[in-house]
């Protein structure tokens, strides 16, 4: 290995602006930096002093692909601070809303961002011409996910119907019923998708991950549960800041996260969720998890696309159950009184565990906000994985090395816009 430097100026087919710098020494990889130069967005500061009712809509603006995740983590954290418990019917509708987001986010990523890498295409556009049926299938699946967000959330991008205590308006039964035929089609399309991506060729690249996700005794985790790890831990969400630490790094506007005591990286996201909760997947998803022939938990980041596909099957199947059985509740939301306090919550965004904590005042304002997105939690692990991947991918052609590294980064579906509360690949060779 020579002392080369490889730099990807701007990562493509990832959400947001980031680059990659690799410095190669004579014998090994000297340095790998995932550089995030998306400007810091300062949402935590923006929330201070604002009415707590503004939080769901403001935090939703952190991300256009995963706004529901921010709304869910924020309302659950605020309800924790206010001592509010929502009834089962509202709880179920929130899961339905989350199903819509998982479907549209995962599907867009699989079909237009990640699948092209496995099929040897430079872009989703190039792939669309050779695989029009598959891409049209994915776009229709995404469309149905968006339709569910519109019915439940008021609109597909930055939904406006989520409120502390529930929703501003409950959906009408006929509006949900109308989605059933498309979701029946969607479930079958999701099964075909899972079989399609499971047939891709995956590099043999297994990592020593500590997997982290929510876990719940009765359901596949979305909005509630404890924090489980692949080391067998079961942690209360309230202990998140004791167990996980964010820190700044000089080459990135996004914070990195590590386990506080061991100072080691960890992995959140679909690979972790499926790995820790495979038995809680819906019946069809569970059968497919066996059929695809992967021994879960998988620690191969390239197999994240299969985990995403299984979650889309689960989301369509769970959504269908809720759509068919829906009975309109008596009230859209629970009333509450302001009180001084602190509350936190973690929910499972498409990209992984999303933690929020709020300190609120007795007159209903935000005193302090802390938001830890999944992509920033994965940053340290991504860099570690790249350090392990570069020797495997190394060849004389810097462009080929850069492409191979970008392919790996895309497997994590990083949402760089979220991770900067801010793939250029530069390779230096001696």
């Amino acid at each position: 290995m020579s002392g080369r430097r490889i730099k990807v100026q701007a990562l493509t087919r990832v959400e947001g602006e980031g680059g990659l710098y690799i410095k190669l020494g004579p014998q090994d990889v000297e340095e790998v930096c995932l550089e995030i130069y998306e400007p810091p967005r300062l949402f935590e500061a923006l929330l201070r002093g604002r009415p707590l009712e503004d939080v769901p809509d403001i935090t939703a603006r952190i991300c256009g692909i995963c706004p529901v995740a921010y709304q869910m983590s924020s309302v659950h954290a605020l309800e924790s601070a206010l001592g509010v418990t929502v009834p089962p019917a509202i709880r179920q509708l929130r899961r339905l809303l989350y199903c819509g987001e998982w479907i549209e986010s995962h599907t867009l990523h699989m079909y237009l961002l990640n699948a092209p890498d496995f099929l040897g295409f430079e872009s989703g556009l190039a792939m669309a011409e050779r695989y029009p049926d598959e891409v049209n299938r994915g776009l229709r699946m995404k469309k149905h996910g968006n339709q569910l967000l519109e019915v439940m959330g008021g609109r597909a991008i930055h939904p406006i119907n989520v409120a502390v205590g529930g929703f501003f308006r409950l959906p009408r039964a006929e509006d949900l019923q109308r989605l059933v035929p498309d979701f029946e089609w969607g479930l079958q399309a999701a099964v075909e998708t899972a079989r399609w991506v499971a047939g891709f060729e995956f590099p043999d690249f297994c990592r020593d991950y500590q997997l982290v996700s929510l876990a719940h005794p009765e359901e596949y985790p979305m909005n509630e549960g404890c924090i489980a790890t692949s080391d067998g831990e079961s942690l209360a969400v309230g202990s998140f800041e004791n167990e996980f630490e964010e820190r700044q790094v000089p080459h990135s506007t996004a914070l990195h996260a590590v386990r506080r005591h061991a100072q080691t990286p960890y992995l959140v996201g679909p690979l972790a969720r499926v790995g820790l909760n495979v038995d809680q997947l819906s019946p069809t998803a569970r059968r497919l998890a066996v059929e695809v022939g992967i021994a879960w938990p998988s620690r191969n980041p390239f197999q994240s696309i299969v985990a995403r596909a299984l979650e889309v099957v689960h989301a369509f199947e769970e959504a269908l159950t809720i759509l068919r059985d829906y009975q309109r509740p008596a009230h859209a939301r629970v009333a509450y009184d302001y009180r001084d306090g602190r509350g936190c919550a973690a929910t499972e965004a498409p990209r992984g565990l999303l933690y929020h904590r709020y300190d609120v005042t007795a007159d209903g304002k935000i005193r302090l906000a802390k938001i830890v997105p999944p992509t920033s939690q994965n940053q340290a692990q991504i860099e570690t994985d790249l350090r392990g991947w570069v020797p495997v991918a190394l060849q004389d052609d810097d462009d080929a090395v850069a492409r191979s590294c970008e392919n790996l980064v895309r497997c994590y579906d990083p949402c760089i816009s979220c991770s900067t509360h801010f793939l250029r690949v530069q390779i230096e060779r001696p």
Binding site: A10, T12, R13, V14, E15, G16, E17, C63, G64, I65, L108, H109, L112, L113, S123, G124, L125, A128, E129, P132, V135, N136, L139, K143, N146, R155, A156, I157, H158, I416, S417
Partner: protein
């Protein structure tokens, strides 16, 4: 001659208003957001809604160009209205017929900001792009998030809407010489 009562109460039907059928296969989409001059596409769509009967043409507003993919099947003519950069002065507007070199794709950075040109190209590669696609762009001023519409774009908006109406009626069609 006396007429039967039913003829007095139910006279011969009026001739059908042929204009109500004229734009059935036309979809007009205003692209934008609630901020500053980026509202232009949405406001243009709102103004067009005052000039045409419901659903003729079909009018929609979108945050993201990728939403077009949900609406274009069966459409014969697609008109997109959006704020843009690259013209000479704020408020200036023009129309481009797809494909046009001014709508080169460039770098497609991510799933959130799938640019309009990439969406149109994707639809074309999938065989779903309407046979006629026109993009109306109005030059945006320099603004920040949360700003109101600039005076230049606010003053130009009625003329943009008039031009789109004329184009819809084929009085002054959108061509790449427009």
């Amino acid at each position: 001659m006396l007429r039967s009562l039913h003829q007095l109460l139910d006279p011969l039907p009026a001739r059908p208003d042929r204009t109500t059928m004229k734009f059935r296969q036309t979809l007009v989409v205003g692209l934008g957001s609630p901020h500053g001059d980026d509202q232009a596409g949405w406001l243009a769509t709102d103004a067009l809604a005052q000039r045409f009967p419901p659903n003729d043409p079909v009018l929609r507003k979108a945050n993201s160009a990728s939403e077009l993919l949900d609406w274009i099947d069966g459409v014969g003519r697609l008109i997109i209205v959006d704020a843009c950069l690259g013209l000479n002065r704020p408020g200036e507007f023009r129309c481009w017929r797809w494909p046009h070199r001014a709508m080169a794709i460039g770098k497609w950075a991510g799933s959130h900001d799938m640019p309009l040109a990439a969406v149109l190209d994707l639809a074309h590669r999938l065989g779903r792009l309407p046979p006629r696609v026109e993009v109306w762009g109005i030059q945006s001023g320099e603004q920040q998030l949360g700003d109101d519409l600039s005076a230049a774009v606010r003053d130009a908006l009625p003329y943009l809407v008039d031009a789109i109406v004329e184009s819809l009626h084929e009085v002054t069609p959108c061509t790449n010489d427009h």
